[in-house]
Each structure stands twice: as structure tokens, then as C-alpha cells.
């Protein structure tokens, strides 16, 4: 049972219109008479805020309906129709996409507001906000799309915008290379997505290629095809959501301005993969083998990224690896068919990760673009608002009760245990400890102890209100968002999971309440250990160590980038150079050149026929008529 709601189309359209307007304004005025920054800032915030408002409308609209009817559909127009493939430019709001909508637009809006302050001195202000709005619009298309094809539009859109924004400071080659890397790695994932989509269409797409029809036909999938589809789609997800083996782009993506990192890590882009797997829960749930692959890839990514995170010294890289690690948790959740737990972690993560990034942005802003945590220290009193909000974010990320991260992470770990994935649970708990360690390592080094760079410390000051207010709002979210999904043992009733119920196909594991309490205590204990070790080592001030042995390998991220470079990039380049040096000029070109030479000569010959005498032209007509009559005499008889 579905309802129609024409206003759905407006939600992505508003930021997209914003992008168009800002882009055109910027394009026509940037060289002649630059417009004031305030205008761009205000214009940029309008679209996301209105979208947030509409997202609330969607939410309450759905809430007013009985649970099994919570599907709002709007088919704007038939996008294209080829054979069996009828693709509507359609939008679907169900509980899953409504939840995504809410936090994407809320956090997106907050990041936009924050950027007004953060980007204040940038000379391409208009361009930046054009891309930001476009980014959000693309993400909203991704979330709201009524079928895989429309989702793919948004999917590619966020890929493009991430490229544009990561290499935003394009004067520096490294930034451009980081953008290239993000784009290329994402494209590798996209290939998987497209293939998965094609196989899915080939198998069950004939009677409608949107989620609702696919869901109704999912039972027709044979195991072989179903698993293939799942794994191919997951390849797409590993690209977008930075999982092994395609996670390498995300840490490099720190090259972009900090609000962009926040947007990529919290509200848009990286959550797309998790969302997609949850979207296709009606397929994944039928094929536990594919789910296990997803879960194991996820938890191993979580472990690997946590190891890397422990040794980084760039504040943004620490956060980047923590995102990769948390995304690993989410995939572990959706892999063990605990989709609602995964999505709930996406939701809480969006708050505390946006908060941490924006907080890191404040620190960087205050220290005039210093990102090395070994050059910070003692900023607690200088930046009180940043400190307290970031502390809340760090507590939430570490999973300290009662902050939001605790509930969502615990839900995931418990689901793993309840569905019998003890190995995943064990690694998950371990990673939780490591997360607590590196998060508080960062907090202690940045805010506690004595300042390591006296001069920068003296000039540091709290950023303007336009930047700190979003921090406070996000801190509230990061602190309390967990309450929304309180499990039964705390007297809650898993509200979010219930809300998501109609959208997902879930198998709930059953386990005793004692197991749940044990699991919870174990993870709290490990987290406490992590925080304690961090305090011991860094709480009282510490000097930058010289990494040796394992730590050094960890700092250099197990040399994965170098290995990829040697195994994939260089052979590929070598192959390309063989083609460009030998195959193309010597072999294929000669044929091409010959045909173009012939073509040109024939052209010259034909030009000669255009003599310019009308009598000759009349002659051509006569020749034509003669040929026609010749033809006629041939066919008649």
C-alpha cells in the first residue's frame, strides 16, 4: 500500500536549484564584480534548511500512517523506456529513507552554516557553496530514488561532488591527486554497482525496476544470481563507503576543506554504501553467505583502520580512519542482517562524526591550519566550547555510556553475538577498545598538557558563533541520539528499529538478557581500558615518539598505498605506455590515417563535381532520372 506525495521531488530539487543559482551567479560575476560572501552563504543555507523542513513533513506524514502503509511515492516523469526497462524519475520515502533524509538534511544544513564561517576568507566562496549544495542534492537523490537507477544518479553525483570538493584547493597538486584518487577508486566500485544492477535487472527486472517491485519479486532469485548480485553491489559499497580493499581514498580525501570532510564523513557519501545494503535488505537477507562476506569485510576494515588510527599524527587523518573503522562496524551489522542496528549507527555516527570534524575544523581554524596533533596541546582553556563539544563527540565515538555511540555500537556487537558470529563480536570489542584509545589520545594531545607550539597557542582563539553554534547542536545530538533506540534492558523499546521495520527484511537473533548484559559489560570494560591507557600515555603531556617496528608499519598504513601502486597502478601505466608508444602509432593509427586520407581524397573528388554550372546540375538530374528508370525497369519485370 503506497501513497503519493508530489512534494518529495522538491527535497532534492531545492539544494540542486540552490547549486544552479549560486553557480550561475558565481559564473557571471566572479571575474567582473564579485558578489558579497554573505549573499552566497545565505543562498546556500536556504536550500538545505528548506529540505530539512520538508524532511520533517515527510516524517510526520509517514508517522500518521499505519506502519504497513508507510510508503510515499512520487513519479515525476518517465525518464526513459527501452524494451522492458521503464525507468521513472521517481522518489520513494519510506521509514528508511525518511530517517536518512532527516539526518542528512539536518547535518547537511548545520555543516553549511558552519562553512559560512569557516570558508570566510576563501576567494572562491561562491564555487564552494555551489558544489556543497550540489553534493547535498545528489545525496538526497540517492536516498530518495525509487529504484536502483535513480539511486545511481545520486551515487554518481556524490562521487563527482566529492571529486570537486576534495581537490577544491586546486593550487596544490597533492589535493588534485587526492581528488583523482577518490574519483578513480569510486569508479572501480561503481563498476561493481552497475554490474550488480544489470544482473538484477536481467534476473527480475522485467516487471518493474524499482524497490517495491523488486522486493515483491526477490523470491524469484536463484541462489547463484542472488549471491552474485549481493557481492557485486557490495563492491560498489566498498568503493563509496571506504571498505577493504577500496578504503584508500578516504584518508586522502582529507585534502579538502574541513567542512567537506565533515559532509563526506557524516551526512553524505560514505553512508551511501550502508544505506544501499540496507535498501537491498530484501535480497541480502535471503543470502546469509553474502551477508557473512559483508560482515567479515566490514569488521576486518574496522580492525585495520583502528590500527592505522592509533599511529596517525594528523588530526583529520585520525578522524578519517575512525570513520573507516566505524563504517566497518556498520557493514558488520548489515552483514549479520541487523540492518536497523547498522542504520542506527549510521544515524548516531553522523552526529558525533560531524561534530568531531567540525570541532577539528575549529581547532585547525584557531591554529591557522595546523593539523599535526604533536604541535598542539593545552587548548582546553583557549577553546572551551570546542573542547567540551569535542569531548562529547569523543565519548560518543568511543562508546562510553550513556552517549549515543554506546547504544548503537552495542546494538551491533550484540546482534553479532546473537546471530552466532562470535568472531565478529570479539574483533568488534577489540576495535572498541582501540577506538577509545586513539580517540582519547587525540583529545589529550590536543587539549590537555602543555602547549607544544607556544606561538600558535598564544594566537589561538575561539572561532565565531556561526561555527560554534552548529557544534553545540551536534553535541546535543551526539549525546542524546542514543535514547531514540533504547534496548529493552534499559526500559526502551528499540524505537528506531521499530520505525524501520516496514522497510527492512530482518532476522532477529535471540539471546538471553544475561548474554546482552555480559556483552555490554565486556565492551564497557574494554573501552575503559582504552581510555585509561590513552590517559596514562598522553594525559600528562607527552613528546612525539619515534616510531619503530610495528608502530612504524602502522604509521605508514601497512604500505597499502605503495603496494597498490606497485601491483595495480604501475603495471597499468606500463601497459598504457606500451599502447601509446607502440600499438597506437605503429599499428592502429596507420589504418586510421589511411581511411581518413581516402576519405579526404574522395571529398576532394566530390567537391569537383560541384562545378557551379546549372547546366551540369541539370545533367545530374537527368542522370538520376535515367538511373531511376533503369531501376524501375529492373523491378517491374
Amino acid at each position: 500500500m503506497e501513497h503519493t506525495a508530489a512534494y518529495l521531488g522538491l527535497i532534492p530539487l531545492l539544494p540542486l536549484t540552490g547549486a544552479l543559482v549560486i553557480g550561475l551567479l558565481y559564473m557571471f560575476t566572479c571575474t567582473t564584480n564579485p558578489l558579497p560572501e554573505k549573499l552566497y552563504g545565505a543562498l546556500a543555507c536556504v536550500g538545505p534548511l528548506l529540505s530539512f523542513f520538508l524532511a520533517l513533513v515527510v516524517f510526520f506524514h509517514l508517522k500518521g500512517l499505519p506502519p504497513e502503509e508507510r510508503f510515499l511515492v512520487h513519479n515525476a516523469y518517465t525518464w526513459f523506456a527501452v524494451g522492458d526497462l521503464h525507468i521513472n524519475m521517481g522518489f520513494l520515502a519510506d521509514p528508511l529513507s525518511a530517517l536518512m533524509l532527516l539526518f542528512v538534511t539536518l547535518i547537511g544544513s548545520l555543516i553549511h552554516i558552519y562553512s559560512v564561517g569557516y570558508m570566510a576568507e576563501d576567494k572562491n566562496y561562491g564555487k564552494f557553496f555551489c558544489y556543497m549544495n550540489l553534493f547535498l542534492g545528489a545525496m538526497l537523490i540517492l536516498v530518495l530514488g525509487s529504484g536502483p537507477v535513480v539511486m545511481f544518479v545520486g551515487w554518481e553525483g556524490v562521487g563527482l561532488c566529492s571529486y570537486l570538493l576534495i581537490s577544491y584547493f586546486s593550487e596544490d597538486t597533492n589535493n588534485v591527486l587526492a581528488g583523482n584518487k577518490a574519483f578513480i577508486v569510486n569508479r572501480i566500485g561503481d563498476l561493481g554497482f552497475v554490474l550488480g544492477m544489470s544482473v538484477l535487472f536481467w534476473a527480475i527486472g522485467a516487471s518493474g525496476f524499482d524497490y517495491l517491485s523488486l522486493r515483491a519479486n526477490a523470491h524469484n532469485l536463484t541462489p547463484a544470481i542472488g549471491i552474485t548480485v549481493c557481492l557485486l553491489l557490495f563492491v560498489g559499497a566498498t568503493g563509496k563507503s571506504a571498505q577493504i580493499p577500496l578504503y584508500v581514498w578516504l584518508p586522502d580525501a582529507m585534502a579538502g576543506p574541513t567542512p567537506v570532510s565533515a559532509l563526506i564523513h557524516a551526512a553524505t557519501m560514505v553512508t551511501a554504501g550502508v544505506y544501499m545494503v540496507a535498501r537491498f535488505s530484501f535480497i541480502y537477507a535471503h543470502f546469509p553467505i553474502a551477508g557473512s562476506v559483508v560482515a567479515w569485510v566490514g569488521i576486518l576494515t574496522a580492525l585495520l583502520a583502528a590500527i592505522f588510527g592509533m599511529f596517525q599524527k594528523d588530526i583529520k587523518k585520525i578522524l578519517a580512519y575512525s570513520t573507516v573503522s566505524q563504517l566497518g562496524y556498520m557493514f558488520a551489522a548489515v552483514g549479520v542482517t541487523a540492518y536497523s542496528a547498522g542504520i542506527f549507527h549510521v544515524f548516531t555516527h553522523a552526529f558525533f562524526k560531524a561534530l568531531l570534524f567540525l570541532g577539528a575544523g575549529s581547532v585547525i581554524y584557531a591554529l591557522h591550519h595546523q593539523q599535526d596533533i604533536w604541535k598542539m596541546g593545552g587548548l582546553k582553556d583557549k577553546l572551551p566550547r570546542t573542547y567540551w563539544t569535542m569531548l562529547i563527540g569523543a565519548l560518543a565515538l568511543s562508546g562510553v555510556p550513556p552517549f549515543s555511540g554506546f547504544f548503537s555500537k552495542d546494538e551491533i556487537l550484540f546482534s553479532a553475538l546473537a546471530t552466532g558470529h562470535t568472531g565478529i563480536w570479539f574483533i568488534g570489542v577489540l576495535v572498541a577498545g582501540m577506538t577509545a584509545y586513539y580517540t582519547f589520545r587525540m583529545i589529550f594531545l590536543v587539549f590537555h598538557g602543555a602547549p607544544r607550539d607556544k606561538e600558535a597557542f598564544d594566537h589561538a582563539h575561539e572561532p565565531p558563533a556561526v561555527m560554534t553554534i552548529p557544534l553545540v547542536i551536534l553535541a546535543v545530538g551526539a549525546a542524546f541520539a542514543g535514547v531514540l533506540n533504547l534496548p529493552a534492558i534499559f526500559g526502551g523499546s528499540l524505537n528506531v528499529s521499530q520505525w524501520l521495520e516496514p522497510s527492512l527484511v530482518e532476522h532477529h537473533g535471540h539471546a538471553s538478557i544475561w548474554l546482552e548484559i555480559m556483552a555490554m559489560l565486556a565492551s564497557i570494560g574494554v573501552v575503559a581500558c582504552g581510555v585509561y591507557i590513552a590517559y596514562k600515555k598522553f594525559g600528562q603531556g607527552a613528546e612525539e615518539p619515534v616510531f619503530t617496528g610495528f608502530a612504524k608499519i602502522g604509521y605508514y598504513k601497512f604500505y597499502v598505498d605503495e603496494i597498490y601502486n606497485a601491483v595495480f597502478v604501475q603495471p597499468y601505466k606500463g601497459f598504457g605506455s606500451i599502447i601509446s608508444r607502440f600499438l597506437e602509432p605503429k599499428v592502429t593509427d596507420s589504418g586510421v590515417k589511411l581511411s581518413s586520407w581516402l576519405y579526404q581524397k574522395a571529398g576532394t573528388a566530390f567537391k569537383a563535381l560541384q562545378v557551379g554550372y546549372v547546366r551540369i546540375y541539370a545533367l545530374y538530374m537527368i542522370i538520376g532520372l535515367s538511373l531511376m528508370s533503369l531501376f524501375l525497369s529492373q523491378t517491374i519485370n
Partner: protein
């Protein structure tokens, strides 16, 4: 009432033409005003056509006209294209005549008479009325081609066109007479009944359609009746060339398709012939086009190639349930691209069309980036690159050919469109990869510029909403 409404656009254009003719008696009315008046009439007729729409086939005033005029969705689309062409041509002409000062009021008047000939031609379902419409159109176009009497090339062009066009007209009359002799009727419907009634075709009928095909192929510049088109397009002033290349071709192709589609017997007996004509037209046109150095001549030759694609569509039409949607779509896509490029040439050409060759446009992108971008869009559309209208048009034609079993023709069509990149991209390269030598100062009015950018939007709009037609 419905009969009246369906020819209302035609009446509006006739009224406008007569009004302008009368106004030209007064010296005070300026040429500029005339251009606005004609634009207004074209726009009004366009929207009336759009609003009236068209249901199924309607015989207009069956008693008065004795079934000579029939409107359908296909004629409506043809009408819309012609009226749109008229509107944008008037726009470009307004700019063009700001610097080229040989225009008088009758120019716009003639354009509107030509348009009413064309509209009449699309609706004609009878040979004599088709002939009259064809001649109304042709006579007005002759005058427009040679409007600049002081210009030698224009005078040469009109002479060539008139002489060769007279041949074509004679063929058409000859064909009409023979068909009447063979079937006793000149109405398409009557001819169709005759063909289906008698299995062995009457020799007069065959001979008659032979001549009518020759005349129509001449009008659409199909090989080997194409030779006039290069010189005539080159000699006519730029807006007129644009008008001829689009509106005239639309009108003739609509009547061509109507004539061919009238019976399966007629279509199937000429299908092999049309196959070869279309192949020769595409490849001959391409070969003529690559040798040209003047843009107008190149566009004339590329017009031949596009006629070749449309002939593919004619080969592939299904006589059982003929809708003309593929042809109509392609004509619309081709019209926006071609009109756009001629509109751009109208304001970029300058006085006496001093910029007209490939070399003259070197480095345009540096000086006038938006104009260069617009021209690039039109060229890409004509070359058939997605997501432009031209791509969708070609796509429909190729798929219709495949579904009609003409795979060979479809493949040849694709090859020809690859060949056509040569001369389209040549201009793009000249605009973007050279230093600007010219300052590209523009004197005329901004109307043609505005028209160009509206047409850019149309190229994408038609390309992205293929269901429009």
C-alpha cells in the same frame, strides 16, 4: 468548429502575411516593426497549434475542400516545427538586417507566405493542392533567396534554384497528370484504394509516382538531385538559408511521408530504390561536406546527409499504422540544431557575411565563449552526440530501421554519422584550439543571440524529454 481550429494556425499566418503586405504600402512602417509583427504572428500561430492539438486524423472541411486537406498529429508536429522555424528565423533576420541593409518589409511578408505554403503542404492529401502549396512555398523562397539584388552570388543562386526548381515543378505536374490518368483520382486516399484493389499496378501510376518522387527528392536535396543545394544555400542570406534548411525540408518530408505511407503496395515497391537513394545521399553528402571551406556550404552539404537519415526513416515507416513520430522527432531535432547554428551565424557573420569560413571562426571561444559553446552544442546535436536532441533523433531512426528489418541501412547510417564528425568537429577545433585573430565584434541586435540560447535549451529539452512528440 474543430475543422476551423485545426487550420487556424494557417489562417493566422495568411492573415499576418496579408497584413504585412498592406503595411508595406506605408513608408512609415519600419522593417524592424515588420520583424516583430511576423514574430508575433508566428508565435501566436505556434501556440494556437499547440493548444488546438490534434486528435486522430481529421479531414478538414470535407465538403468545401473535398477532402484535400487532412490534419493529424503528424501534420501538427510538422506545423509546429515550421512555425517555430519561422519565429526563430524572424529573430535572426532582425539581427542580421541591422548590419546588412537590403531588407524591406516584403521580406517578412514573403517569409510568411512561404510558411503558409509549407503548412498547406503538410496538410495536403491530394496531388493538385500539394502542387499548389509546393509552388506557393517555392515562389516565396525563390524571392527570399535572391532578395539582395545587388549581390552577385545571391542572383546566381536564385537563377540556379529557379531553373532547376522549375524542372522539379514540371516533374511534379507530370506525375500528377500520369497518376490521374492511371487511377482517375488525385486524392491520396483514392490512389491507395486503387492500388489495393488492383494487384498489378497500372503503368501510368508507376510512371506518375516516379516523377513525383523525382520532384520530392529534388526538394529535399537527395542524391543525385542535390547539386543545387550547395550553391543556393551559399548564395542566400544566412537567415533565409536557415529557414530553407529547416522549414522547407520539414514540409516536404511530411508530404513525402504521407504520400509513401498511403499504401503498403506503393511503399514496398519503392523500398529498394529508396534504400539506395538514402545510402547515396548520406555518403555523397558527407563527401561533399568534407571538401568545403565555407560554413554555409558545409551546412548545406550536411543538410543533404540529414535528408539521407530521413530517407532511412521513410524506408522504415510502417504503412499499417503510420504515425510519423520518428520522422517528426528527427525533423524537430534537426530543426533546432540547424536553426541554432544559422542564428549564431546571423549575428556572428557581420556585415556582408564577412565571417563565413572555417578559418574565420578560429579562436571564437576565447572572445565569445558562450557563443562558441552554443555552436558546439548545435554541432554535437547535428553529429548525434548524447544527450542532445540529435542523438535521440538518430537513435529513433536507427532503431526503427532495425525493427523494420533494414539492419544494413541502420549500420550504414551509423557509419555515416561517424563520418560526419569530421566536418562538425573541424569547426569545434577551430573555435577552441586556435588563438583568436578576429575581435568578433557584433553590431546587430541581441535578438539572434537570445534566440540562439533559447535553442540551446531546446536541444537539451527535446533530447531529454523524448516523449514530447
Amino acid at each position: 468548429m474543430h475543422d476551423f481550429l485545426s487550420i487556424l494556425p494557417l489562417l493566422i499566418i495568411v492573415g499576418g502575411a496579408i497584413l504585412l503586405m498592406l503595411l508595406s504600402a506605408f513608408e512609415k512602417v519600419q522593417v524592424e516593426i515588420a520583424s516583430f509583427i511576423s514574430m508575433a504572428f508566428f508565435a501566436a500561430a505556434f501556440f494556437v497549434q499547440l493548444l488546438v492539438g490534434c486528435g486522430p486524423e481529421t479531414v478538414v472541411f470535407a465538403k468545401i475542400f473535398n477532402g484535400m486537406l487532412v490534419t493529424s498529429n503528424f501534420t501538427m508536429v510538422g506545423g509546429l516545427i515550421i512555425l517555430g522555424c519561422g519565429f526563430f528565423t524572424a529573430m535572426s533576420a532582425h539581427s542580421y538586417f541591422k548590419v546588412n541593409l537590403f531588407c524591406t518589409l516584403e521580406f517578412y511578408c514573403m517569409m510568411m507566405f512561404a510558411a503558409c505554403g509549407m503548412l498547406l503542404l503538410t496538410m495536403s492529401q491530394e496531388l493538385i493542392s500539394a502542387f499548389i502549396a509546393l509552388e506557393i512555398m517555392s515562389l516565396s523562397i525563390y524571392i527570399l533567396v535572391g532578395y539582395d539584388r545587388a549581390n552577385v552570388t545571391a542572383t546566381e543562386a536564385i537563377l540556379k534554384y529557379l531553373m532547376l526548381g522549375a524542372f522539379a515543378g514540371a516533374f511534379f505536374t507530370m506525375g500528377t497528370a500520369l497518376i490521374y490518368g492511371g487511377t482517375g483520382t488525385t486524392k491520396f486516399a483514392g490512389i491507395a484504394t486503387m492500388i489495393s484493389a488492383t494487384p498489378a499496378a497500372h503503368p501510368f501510376l508507376i510512371a506518375g509516382s516516379f516523377f513525383i518522387f523525382a520532384a520530392l527528392l529534388f526538394k529535399v536535396a537527395a542524391f543525385p538531385f542535390h547539386a543545387w543545394v550547395i550553391d543556393v544555400y551559399d548564395g542566400a542570406s544566412t537567415p533565409v538559408t536557415g529557414f530553407m534548411a529547416t522549414a522547407l525540408k520539414t514540409a516536404v518530408f511530411v508530404v513525402f511521408a504521407n504520400f509513401l505511407a498511403l499504401s503498403a503496395g506503393m511503399h514496398s515497391s519503392w523500398i529498394t530504390f529508396l534504400f539506395w537513394v538514402s545510402v547515396l545521399t548520406m555518403f555523397g553528402g558527407n563527401l561533399v561536406a568534407i571538401g568545403q571551406s565555407s560554413l554555409k556550404r558545409m551546412l548545406a552539404a550536411s543538410g543533404i546527409v540529414h535528408s539521407g537519415y530521413l530517407l532511412i526513416a521513410l524506408v522504415a515507416i510502417s504503412t499499417d499504422h503510420f504515425t510519423g513520430s520518428v520522422i517528426g522527432y528527427y525533423l524537430a531535432a534537426y530543426a533546432v540544431g540547424t536553426l541554432g547554428i544559422f542564428a549564431a551565424l546571423s549575428y556572428l557573420g557581420g556585415k556582408d557575411e564577412k565571417r563565413g569560413t572555417f578559418d574565420d571562426f578560429k579562436g571564437l571561444a576565447q572572445v565569445r565563449p558562450y557563443s562558441a559553446a552554443a555552436i558546439t552544442v548545435f554541432l554535437l546535436s547535428m553529429a548525434g552526440i548524447p544527450p542532445t536532441a540529435g542523438f535521440m533523433g538518430k537513435f529513433y531512426i536507427i532503431t526503427s530501421a532495425i525493427s523494420a528489418g533494414q539492419t544494413a541501412l541502420a549500420v550504414l547510417g551509423v557509419i555515416s554519422s561517424i563520418l560526419s564528425m569530421w566536418y562538425y568537429l573541424r569547426l569545434v577545433i577551430n573555435m577552441y584550439f586556435y588563438e583568436a585573430e578576429d575581435s568578433f565584434e557584433i553590431a546587430g541586435s541581441p535578438l539572434a543571440t537570445a534566440g540562439t540560447f533559447v535553442l540551446v535549451v531546446c536541444v537539451f529539452a527535446i533530447g531529454l524529454y523524448p516523449i514530447i512528440i
